[in-house]
Symmetry: C2
Subunit: 347 residues, 2 copies
Amino acid sequence: MNRGPSTPKKPTLRDVAELAGVSPMTASRVVAGSPGVSPDLVKRVRSAVKKLGYARNEAARLMRPGQRSGLLGVIVTNIDNPYYAQVLLGIESAAQSSGRLIITGISHNDPALEAQLVRDLVARNIDGLIVVPASADAPHLAAVAARGVPLVLASRSIQQGGADTILVDDIGGASTAVADMLTEGRHPIAFVGGPDAIATAARRYEGYVLAHTRAGLVPDPEMVLRLPPDRDAVGAATRALLALPEPPKAFFTTNNRYTVAVLRVLLQAHLDTDDQPPLVGFDTFELADLLPYPLRLIDHDAHALGRLAAELAIRRIDGGEQTPPVTTTLPSTVALNGATSHRAVTS
Amino acid sequence: MNRGPSTPKKPTLRDVAELAGVSPMTASRVVAGSPGVSPDLVKRVRSAVKKLGYARNEAARLMRPGQRSGLLGVIVTNIDNPYYAQVLLGIESAAQSSGRLIITGISHNDPALEAQLVRDLVARNIDGLIVVPASADAPHLAAVAARGVPLVLASRSIQQGGADTILVDDIGGASTAVADMLTEGRHPIAFVGGPDAIATAARRYEGYVLAHTRAGLVPDPEMVLRLPPDRDAVGAATRALLALPEPPKAFFTTNNRYTVAVLRVLLQAHLDTDDQPPLVGFDTFELADLLPYPLRLIDHDAHALGRLAAELAIRRIDGGEQTPPVTTTLPSTVALNGATSHRAVTS
């Protein structure tokens, strides 16, 4: 199409009124769905709207006091990880059910970028905000919640508190899975996961330590790798662990990015089938069940997590919930290379 | 936090003016960045803005004639497929570089839902729209483009034309990969892919037929499965092909969803290593290189596709491009279970 001077302009309400042969005021009342306009005029205006392809200016509507924008702001750390795509799909399904659209920002795990996105989204009059926090230290998120913007934190909490939070049973999932391996006599168990600033990594490390403590053991610091989620760095560190005089008898990873990076090294190491240290990690991932390696995955329903977060935000927006913020913890389950079932618990 | 009656309200411009000891008009001029306010007053207003955490109402700003919303609308079919997550990341990177936010809708491959999302997004004064069309028949998209809304179609075209389009070399990629297998004496080759209404599936089928025609062959209709992307249906149909008296000597699939569904059956069939019919499919997917099966993947840079689509939309918005719509075709490359390189071509 040619967008030069001859391009048809976006039709205005005035164009609609002219074509319908009514006053702009009448056209406006019909478009706004106001009562008291005769059926004949309503019909003429609607026909003109259709013929011209007129779309009401939502920005104008939003200027009316007390109007909601119908927008849910969503900030996720990264959708490159299929886990967050599932969370986003869950949020979208709830948004759609409530007739809302979502504005999506991606923080790339950068707290400063996240703070900027929060400002941008709040300035757009979002009805509510759902965030997977980049860092556990997030004063900008606490500030937004304190100003009364409905805020739900998904999968990670913040130190400042003050907002509804949907978590996964990180400590329980990690401690159970690690305890199972210790019971089987697998010790030492390597920990390969994210730094302490990431709330899930911190809680999953707690679970790893807890399982050791309960078994009367202390984790060997040499076996604990806390690294940024960089595939090459994780790969190199894993190879170094395998090269130790006493290599780990099992591996624990804090999310599917770490699991895949470690798995890649373990598969390339061509270990004897009898000598493959099992790998237990958080989050499933596609094709896990087709990989020739003993995997145990601590799973939860990421889609449900997103949906619950959005539903909670929507209840806050709609005013049905004036109660203090709640934390809901979703259960995690352990499966061998496979599918699992889920059940929600509210704390 | 308690959201009851004692909750602090969102600060207004009036609150800012009061704290700064200036008139609301002066506060408004400082917030809007208008000239002619004394440096001292600017300083006092800015300090009050900061202290109160005041965020300007973007909806109000948008009411000024000629103002842009700073929003890019994006409609993808599905982010469950990591392919579209990559496309979305590419779009987001370009949007962020231009200081814009994206509003994301997911059509779930439903043209009616897509049409509704288009209406919703246009009503929000988006600056431009990037769509992966659910169907090749999309009069609602052509209508939006004709109204002068900058529209870029990503990876799939529409019959109605009229919009900038970024495609992948579907026909070339498919015909080259299928021709290679025919040259190796692999015939018949099964086609497992989407229905004709999906533009990419239609073009990839064309490439499959073209390779046969060039080799003086006609595809056996029994070998052609055109199914919705349902894992169970694709699995059952693939099993039926393997059970034929003369099963396919190779498989061709139109995207990574079909590839994974077929692969699952082929791996479960425990075929002799010497008798594994190779599988060639569009799009890479994570862990493809770790799977114990002969795979050839026709790949392209999905992130670049998204980025180019958004950059084109942004150029249209910024008015640098008043030319007729263009179609850009990205090259595809074939790799054995592995990584590839890319180069862009404009047609």
